[in-house]
Symmetry: C2
Subunit: 333 residues, 2 copies
Amino acid sequence: MGKTTVTSNDVARLAEVSQSAVSRTFSDGGRVSAGMRARVLQAAAQLGYRPNVLARAVISGRSRLIAILVAYLDNHFYPLVLEHLCRAFQDQGYQVLLFMTDPGRQDAVVQTMLQYQVQGIVMASASMSSSLARECTRTGTPVVLFNRYVPSLPVSSVTSDNIEGGRQLAHFLADSGHRRIAFIAGQEDSSTSRDREAGFYKGLAERGMTVWHRAVGGYTTDGAEAATREIFAEAGGADAIFVANDHMAFTVMDVLRRDLGLRIPEDVSVVGYDDVPEAGWAGYNLTTVSQPAAAMVEATVAIMLEQVGDKAVHRRAGMLPCALVIRGSARLP
Amino acid sequence: MGKTTVTSNDVARLAEVSQSAVSRTFSDGGRVSAGMRARVLQAAAQLGYRPNVLARAVISGRSRLIAILVAYLDNHFYPLVLEHLCRAFQDQGYQVLLFMTDPGRQDAVVQTMLQYQVQGIVMASASMSSSLARECTRTGTPVVLFNRYVPSLPVSSVTSDNIEGGRQLAHFLADSGHRRIAFIAGQEDSSTSRDREAGFYKGLAERGMTVWHRAVGGYTTDGAEAATREIFAEAGGADAIFVANDHMAFTVMDVLRRDLGLRIPEDVSVVGYDDVPEAGWAGYNLTTVSQPAAAMVEATVAIMLEQVGDKAVHRRAGMLPCALVIRGSARLP
DNA sequence: TTGAAAGCGCTAACAA
DNA sequence: TTGTTAGCGCTTTCAA
């Protein structure tokens, strides 16, 4: 078989030029004459030469690798975001190193990322310890939390205005005549769930109301089912439920209709959060708040590219507006 | 600030040992005495040393990088597969380089993968040109097509038995008394759609029937909607529709119920393929064929690991059994 | 077992 | 513009 990999030296020998001429031809700002370039490219094509970007990264310190960490992909919001992030980084000449993690193993995963010399880290549906955040700062690796924030950490974040979204839902439900309004929280330690809840309570208060019942679904299917049953174990049940995200809301609707024999929205109104594609499906037709996924991805990429290559890392926080999407799962005024 | 990256030389200097001792301590089969190991680890911890795996990859030729290429993530089958693949490779000490691509740009993307010295390529919902496949063979990079196969190419593949699945659906519909059975194809050039269709026709033939109408949905939402309308533009319409995957089937059901005012399954039966999580949701309750995603991922990873590091690439083809999942979207006998 | 030395494939300063 | 030279951070012979 012989050697299987073609190096810049092989190309240089065939083209009868120096090895650095080959390097210049294949690097961005390379100053090479048209004639040289042509000879090199011709020899490279003949041999099937392909630059080894890993070797390049070792020297230049620019791996053009961005790590993305996600905890799960069952909530359809995240695959969508992942797809857009990946395409956006690719378009900018960066490649995505994908990591799935369970809470608890995140620190080890971040160590692996750093070993791969990634130039930036995006964390979606996942958080990070403060010691790790500091380590990233030390190595000059910018971190962007997607759809989450931790004010005390030296990391950037991109979110939408979850407080305002929760508030608008509260107004909408209160103004539609609902009186026993329940809330199903997501993960209690996530800023999304906390903010949506805070905004929701604030909105209710502005209408002189308080939440009728609060349950926790933990952003899981099982949790959502249990929370729904818990609410309707009480006498009378709720006449409206705000579920902290769409993914849980679908389960809630299934339990309500199939298991409890209730009609939506005649017997009980359901509203969610995220506006994932399924929310628009006729089988659910869910009233919800849309998160501007495309704009959030854009902001994430912008913050990343701004910091990549900089020696120092700056904390940036982007918050994008959300919008109430009224469909048919909640009664109207 | 000073130097920001800690190298094995820094550790060696602090521990007063040779640089190669540090290297051995951090590489797998490194023969080092316990005392040496302890000194090195202590110095490394003190400095916050982290091996540069890119430099290691340049020398050893083992990047421990696996590329995964997907064309889209809206069909929920793929995020699920991606999540499992990623976790499985991570567990084996490999990292995933994720690429999203549109048909047509795939060749350029594969070139990028090879530049990153990936040790293997998984292609899901995406195909590959024969010249590229040959190039991968030449570089000794194993390729596994997930949920797709191209017999003429020197690449491995993992599929489920789509022919048998289609056949079972045909029997099921025929035996339930349906007489005007339509089929909505996916992408015409994909082996999944072709096999499901072939099996379906075979199954119908075994019951002395033929397909009543055939339309093409192209695995897209818009295509599925158009195909549905096309079928019901004909006098009478179908009394059953086999949709080539679940993702399109949900759209078909929406169009049927919301736009055409038909009841499922009283007026028309709908069956899909894949058994994505949403198929089990009460709002759809779709009769379908389940693809063994977990087993397919397992087979993919096994084929990959078997070949990674081998000089020569072997063609492997894994086909896993599927299973009919009967829910409520199709009439029973 | 340990250390010295020679690279892996490439970039980047420097001189010509 | 081109070639020469010195590395990047690491693995891997080869002696000791």
